[in-house]
């Protein structure tokens, strides 16, 4: 087992809903970016769309994982422990994989290079440490934070260059997104931080979706 979050039991049902919301919002951003790609054939839009699609899938898997946990704990289902642990691990690793691939794709997009070799190398560097570590969840959030620091630097520079409200919002969204990773890191020991991490994440995604709506309305 790669480790598990300490989530307060009363928060399980809220967490399923929140993860579904995260999955839907990131899915909407992915679709919007894909539409921009179809209109303009701009490569960055395609990569951004793929990155958010991957993140969306990771959240939907996370929702499924917590739903399985919740069902097991609240309904006392008859599923065997082996089978339960197997599916739990599989979903958890799939969540980690899709999320990290999404963030890596964002970092690759920001690098601005056109090389599949660079993308594969970045992905391998990000994913390979999971083969040797016991603290997979901790490593997951640490790597996400490192990649998000790089992504955030891009948005800070972008805001500095453009200095408009929308760029400020996107910079804030990614800043909160990064902050949430630190809370999730602490949540491995203390459940309260998991809730704070989720609250910070919902703020980040709300800013992102509001930004998207204002773009469409102008």
């Amino acid at each position: 087992m790669g480790g598990i979050y300490v989530i307060p039991q009363w928060f399980f049902s809220y967490d399923i809903v929140l993860n579904l919301i995260f999955g839907i919002i990131t899915g909407v951003v992915s679709v919007a970016s894909y539409k921009i790609y179809k209109l303009s054939l701009q490569r960055q839009s395609k990569l951004f769309s793929l990155a958010f699609l991957s993140i969306s899938v990771s959240y939907l898997l996370q929702a499924f994982l917590i739903f399985v946990l919740f069902s097991k704990l609240s309904l006392q289902s008859t599923i065997s422990f082996f089978s339960f642990t197997f599916w739990l691990n599989l979903t958890l690793y799939a969540h980690i994989l899709f999320f990290l691939v999404g963030i890596t794709t964002l970092a690759y997009m920001i690098l601005g290079v056109r090389s599949m070799r660079v993308y594969i190398l970045l992905s391998l560097i990000t994913l390979a440490p999971f083969l040797i570590t016991e603290s997979k969840l901790y490593l997951f959030h640490l790597l996400s934070a490192v990649l998000l620091i790089y992504v955030l630097c891009h948005y800070i520079l972008h805001f500095w260059e453009k200095k408009n409200k929308r760029n400020l919002f996107i910079m804030l969204a990614f800043g909160l997104f990064l902050l949430s990773q630190f809370f999730f890191m602490f949540s491995i020991k203390e459940g309260f931080y998991y809730i704070v991490g989720d609250v910070v994440s919902i703020l980040a995604y709300l800013i992102m979706i509001v930004n998207l709506v204002t773009i469409r309305r102008t």
């Binding site: 303009s40 701009q42 919002f169 996107i170």
Partner: protein, 91 residues
């Protein structure tokens, strides 16, 4: 202005030049309107043809370029494209 913004802007200028000539234009007119080098224009035209934004036709032995529906859509949605690209830092 950033490199990618210039690319989106150049594409817009080329397509707009074609639209202003009632959807059909000779390459020399595009060269004049887009303010690009001959080589750069060739690269952009190849990209636009491959992306199905324009069609290349030969009329009376002369090459002309026509806008496709996708080309018209690009012009219509240009503001949305640039707003999205700018906001999400995709340039």
């Amino acid at each position: 202005m950033t490199k990618k913004r210039e690319r989106l802007q150049v594409i817009h200028d080329i397509l707009k030049a074609i639209q202003e000539k009632n959807g059909r234009i000779k390459p020399t007119h595009i060269l004049y309107k887009s303010n690009l080098s001959h080589q750069m224009l060739d690269e952009y035209l190849k990209e636009l043809i491959a992306g199905k934004f324009i069609l290349e036709k030969t009329v009376d032995g002369n090459k002309t370029y026509e806008l496709t529906q996708k080309g018209f859509d690009y012009i219509d949605q240009y503001k949305l494209i640039t707003n999205f690209v700018d906001s999400f830092g995709l340039n």
